[in-house]
């Protein structure tokens, strides 16, 4: 079974600075998908960024970027120019290719990010 580990329960960052969240996973699959979701206090789970394992190029989405190290099974998220609205719980998630293993997302335990003014 796949496991996803987020080793940082909480992180704080000053507004406009950069913060990096770590995520490691365990799988024997060669092809899979990785995601970062954020869950603000409103509880709505919002997709931040996704990465296909077969793509070597790291995904970016505005101020959010990932460092995907397939051999190390590492998938970190960098938030640049942090904003107060980035305060949320961030979850790393793993999924096998669609159709395999029932499209199940396996989540890490989450990292709480607090952006301070």
């Amino acid at each position: 079974a796949q496991t996803v580990t987020q080793s940082q329960p909480e992180m704080s960052v000053q507004e406009a600075e950069t913060v990096t969240l770590s995520c490691t996973y365990d799988t024997s699959e060669n092809n899979y998908y990785l995601f970062w979701y954020k869950q603000p206090p409103s509880r709505q789970m919002i997709l931040v960024i996704r990465q296909e394992a077969y793509k070597q190029q790291n995904a970016t989405e505005n101020r959010f970027s990932v460092n995907f190290q397939k051999a190390a099974k590492s998938f970190s998220l960098k938030i640049s120019d942090s904003q107060l609205g980035d305060t949320a719980m961030y979850f790393c998630a793993f999924m096998k290719p669609p159709g395999a293993a029932g499209n199940k997302l396996t989540f890490g335990g989450g990292t709480r990010v607090l952006v301070k003014p």
Partner: protein, 114 residues
């Protein structure tokens, strides 16, 4: 484009009762997923429905069940409620036309069992 919607927002039940949670997917999405987010247990996969059929099930007892309707909306039913069923229940939807089958989540239903 409207996102995934869930109702009710909050639901309070007593032990032994039944709870019904509802979810409407994003227009054009045929797959619906249910996850449980319980305190201390993290996010756990419950069920996956696609084209009206149950496609996959997580490690939950049979008293957790559901269905998907012809319009692709879905219901999650929890029978014989137990105190530990108190949690945020999240619904997500995806489109098989998306090669990554990315799941988009609704706001959740907070179930409290007294």
């Amino acid at each position: 484009e409207a996102g995934v919607t869930q109702s009710p927002t909050h639901l309070i039940k007593t032990r032994g009762q039944q709870a019904t949670l509802r979810c409407s997917p994003i227009s054009g999405h045929t797959s619906v997923y249910w996850y449980q987010q319980a305190l201390g247990l993290g996010l756990q996969f419950l069920l996956w429905y696609d084209e009206g059929e149950e496609r996959n099930r997580g490690n939950f007892p049979p008293r957790f069940s559901g269905r998907q309707f012809p319009n692709y909306s879905s219901e999650l039913n929890v029978n014989a409620l137990e105190l530990e069923d108190s949690a945020l229940y999240l619904c997500a939807s995806s489109s098989l036309e998306d090669v990554t089958d990315t799941q988009y989540f609704g706001p959740g239903t907070r179930l409290t069992v007294l």
